[in-house]
Every structure is written in structure tokens, then in C-alpha cells.
């Protein structure tokens, strides 16, 4: 397996609160892995430790063969290769959908405008944002459209991996589907992804592995069906029981 992202013994504390207590895992090229677990388990913090938006107190992160946590690494350069999709979208408010996708290409990757525009349009079409929406500003888009533009913004940079931080948690229920659909398509196209989500249906249909986090640790991991339907740990079982009760029969 060609490992593209490897985290080794990640620790992070805020004051006296230990948020991450030694998390290790790896993601292979083309894989989609899902992290789930109750609030406060440290999922978002873990994701931010991977592109060093938050610096881990201890532990190491590799992207392909570069150790990101090494002090000599130019982290800005490396972040270009790590897509990040936020729960709250965080599209740039003053830019149109197209410009949101283009800005990383023109300003960070320094591509010529024409080429950037071509790549951006392609990325927008991949996430089913049609031409009529390209010149809309974020405030004129629905939540689902915003999140798809955000995915396009990450995708256009041609990243090694895309990290998704609860990408559907801020969406109205009827808009979740369109975002999950896009994410599934990317997973099937073997765009490497690490997804923090409670969408079990998504995990079951495309994930190669589920990692269940609890209290700053990965307590259980394995093939989605196994972890969801035959959990070994009591906390995992309780969590998935709650989720399935909440979502009923929805897949």
C-alpha cells in the first residue's frame, strides 16, 4: 500500500485538557477513511493537527515522504497539497464561486489566469456547480452549493489528500444528500480522503475503513460494516446505536 498520509502518536492539549492522547493511523493513496465518534472526542483537533492549522504537542505527521512536523518544512508549501473542507464552508465572502476556486491557483500556485480558470471551471463542474452559479457570491448560494464550491476549491489544487471536517453538519437535512453524493463520486474516483462525519451511510458505501474516536484516542478501527454492525467496544456500540436511532432507516 502506497501510504500518502501518516500520523504517529499525535498528542494535543489545551491547557490541562488533553484532547488527543496518542493517535496513529495512515491513509493509502486512493483510499477514503472515515473518522467518527462523539463530540469532544478530538476529531476536529486531529484533522487540524494533520495540516498543522493546530500544531500537535507531540507526534509526527508525514505527507508522502515529507515530515510536516519537522521544523525545517515550509508548511505553506505543504498545505497546498492538503485539501481542507470545513464544517462552516469558509468560502471567501468577497469572491465569486469561480474566484474562490481560482484564488489558490493564481495566488498560491501562481498559475496563469487562463489555466487557473480552466482548472477551476472543471473542478466546479465536477462538484455539479453549473455555469449559472459561477459568478454568484457565497451569500447568494445555498449551504449545499457553498460546500460543493468549497470542495471544488480544495479539489482544484490537485491535492494529495482532502480532509473533510464534518462537511455536512452545518447543512439543512435536505441539502446533505447533494454534498455526500459529490464526496462519494470523488471517493469512487479514488481521490484520497479523510472524512470526519457522522454519516454512517456514506461510510458504509465508500469508506475503506472507519476509525472510531473516543476521549482522544482511536478505540476501534476496521472495515465499516464490521465497526458499525459488530463493534467490539461498548462505547462504539452505544454510539452507533444512538446514531441509527436518530437517523432511523436512512441510508
Amino acid at each position: 500500500m502506497d501510504v500518502v498520509l501518516r500520523a504517529e502518536d499525535i498528542h494535543k492539549s489545551y491547557g490541562k485538557t488533553k484532547v488527543l492522547k496518542g493517535v496513529s493511523f495512515e491513509v493509502g493513496r486512493g483510499e477514503t477513511k472515515v473518522i467518527c465518534g462523539p463530540s469532544g472526542a478530538g476529531k476536529s483537533t486531529l484533522l487540524r493537527c494533520l495540516n498543522l492549522l493546530t500544531r500537535p504537542d507531540k507526534g509526527r505527521v508525514w505527507l508522502e515522504d515529507v515530515e510536516l512536523t519537522s521544523p525545517s518544512v515550509n508548511i505553506n508549501k505543504m498545505r497546498q497539497k492538503i485539501g481542507f473542507v470545513f464544517q462552516e464552508f469558509n468560502l471567501f465572502n468577497h469572491l465569486t464561486a469561480l474566484d474562490n476556486v481560482m484564488i489558490g491557483l493564481t495566488k498560491v500556485k501562481k498559475l496563469p489566469k487562463d489555466e487557473a480558470r480552466r482548472i477551476a471551471k472543471e473542478a466546479l463542474l465536477t462538484v455539479h456547480i453549473t455555469e449559472d452559479l459561477w459568478n454568484k457570491y457565497p451569500a447568494q448560494l445555498s449551504g449545499g452549493q457553498k460546500q460543493r464550491v468549497a470542495i471544488a476549491r480544495a479539489l482544484a489544487m490537485d491535492p494529495v489528500i482532502i480532509l473533510y471536517d464534518e462537511p455536512t453538519s452545518a447543512l439543512d437535512p435536505h441539502l446533505i444528500g447533494e454534498v455526500l453524493e459529490v464526496m462519494k463520486e470523488l471517493a469512487r474516483r479514488k481521490v484520497t480522503g479523510l472524512v470526519v462525519t457522522h454519516e454512517i451511510g456514506f461510510a458504509l458505501s465508500v469508506a475503506d475503513e472507519i476509525m472510531f474516536m473516543y476521549n482522544g484516542r482511536i478505540v476501534e478501527r476496521g472495515p465499516p460494516k464490521e465497526v458499525v454492525f459488530n463493534p467490539k467496544h461498548e462505547v462504539t456500540a452505544r454510539f452507533f446505536k444512538r446514531i441509527s436511532e436518530l437517523y432511523g432507516g436512512r441510508k
Binding site: K81, G83, N90, G104
Partner: protein, 219 residues
């Protein structure tokens, strides 16, 4: 020659001088305010401290005192600039310090998610500031900045203290010659009013031109 025949051309040349002061001081003070405000939030500890010091100083000095310090102090340092530029410099320092506070507040008001998204894309701190934060913060600071500019239009009259023959100094001179204060100062006041009104309208137009579609309530 009648009083008005003499006063009007003089007033006009004073008005031109006032406009010349403002033509330089307005854009440069805005730029200086943006630089100072950005430095306070985005600068490292030293840069931020220096910026805070500059702001504190020129907000703390009365403008008249700043003017006189520059007028008498710069030559002491071997720097000789015409009074016109002394006045322009004083206005930039004073107004820029006030404007920087609007800019700083506006930067602080931008959602942290915007910074995170910029950094996640691989932007440097400078790129984040330039391409993501300032375009949004500047729009929010604009009403405050326009307020400072309107204020500056009026206190540009203080340039008379260092001998710049701008509109107020012309009016003052004519009043000493003819003692017709009501006509003279009222005329000048109307022209200042016209300028501030034009600035108000100008900034309103700029604000609406820069409004981000869908983001703010349209009234």
C-alpha cells in the same frame, strides 16, 4: 475693484490649495491607516508594538501641536520641507492613526474561518492578509474612514498656522483687511460644506459599489 472681485479669485486660489492638500493627504492617510491597522494585528510583536506606539502618539497629540512640532522640529533635524508638505504630513499622521483603529477593528471582526481557509490553501500570512482579510476588512472600515476624511477636510484649515495659503488663511487675511467676517467666513463655510457633502456622497457611492452581493441587507 470691488471687495468681491478681489476676494473671489483669492478664495479660489485658496480653495485650490486646500484641494491640493486633500488630494495628497486623503489617499495617503487611508493607505497609512491600512498599513498601521494591519501591522497591529498581523505584525510580529515588534512591528505591532511600533505601530501601536505610532497610533498612540498621534492620537494623543493635539493636531496643532503635531503641526508645530513638525514645522519647527524637522528643520532642527536638518529636514527642510515647504509648509505645504509639513501640513500634509501632519494630516496624514493624525488621520492615519485614527483610521488605523477602524481598520484594526474591521480586521478583528472578520470571521476566523476566513483565515483558516486561507492558510489551509497554503497562503502565507501576507497573502492571507492581502487577498482574503483586507478586501473584506476594508469594506467594513469604510464608514469609519469616510468619517475621518470628512473631519480632515475641515481641519485642513489648520494649515494656515504654518503659513499655507489655503482657503481659511485667505479668508482670515481678507477679514483682517476688510472686516466683513459674516460674508467672508460664511462663504468659506459653505465651500467646506460643499466639500464634505461631496465626500459623503463619494464614499456612499464607493460603499455601494464595493457591497458584496447578498451579504448585506439592502435598504
Amino acid at each position: 475693484m470691488s471687495f468681491w472681485e478681489e476676494f473671489f479669485p483669492a478664495l479660489l486660489s485658496g480653495f485650490t490649495e486646500t484641494l491640493a492638500i486633500l488630494a495628497v493627504a486623503i489617499p495617503v492617510s487611508i493607505a497609512w491607516g491600512v498599513v498601521l491597522g494591519s501591522a497591529r494585528v498581523y505584525g510580529n510583536r515588534l512591528v505591532s508594538l511600533i505601530a501601536a506606539g505610532i497610533v498612540g502618539l498621534f492620537r494623543g497629540f493635539p493636531l496643532v501641536v503635531t503641526l508645530l512640532i513638525l514645522f519647527f522640529g524637522l528643520p532642527e533635524l536638518g529636514i527642510y520641507i515647504p509648509p505645504f508638505w509639513t501640513a500634509v504630513l501632519a494630516f496624514i499622521l493624525c488621520s492615519g492613526a485614527y483610521q488605523s483603529e477602524y481598520v484594526r477593528g474591521a480586521i478583528r471582526s472578520i470571521d476566523v474561518g476566513q483565515s483558516l481557509a486561507a492558510r489551509a490553501l497554503g497562503m502565507s500570512k501576507a497573502q492571507e492578509l492581502l487577498y482574503v482579510i483586507l478586501p473584506q476588512a476594508f469594506r467594513r472600515a469604510l464608514p469609519g474612514i469616510s468619517n475621518e476624511i470628512i473631519y480632515m477636510i475641515k481641519y485642513s484649515s489648520l494649515a494656515y498656522i504654518v503659513g499655507v495659503t489655503e482657503m481659511f488663511s485667505v479668508s482670515k487675511r481678507f477679514n483682517s483687511l476688510y472686516f466683513r467676517p459674516v460674508e467672508i467666513f460664511f462663504t468659506a463655510a459653505i465651500i467646506y460644506l460643499a466639500m464634505t457633502t461631496a465626500a459623503t456622497i463619494g464614499f456612499k457611492l464607493l460603499e455601494s459599489k464595493l457591497r458584496i452581493p447578498g451579504l448585506e441587507v439592502e435598504v
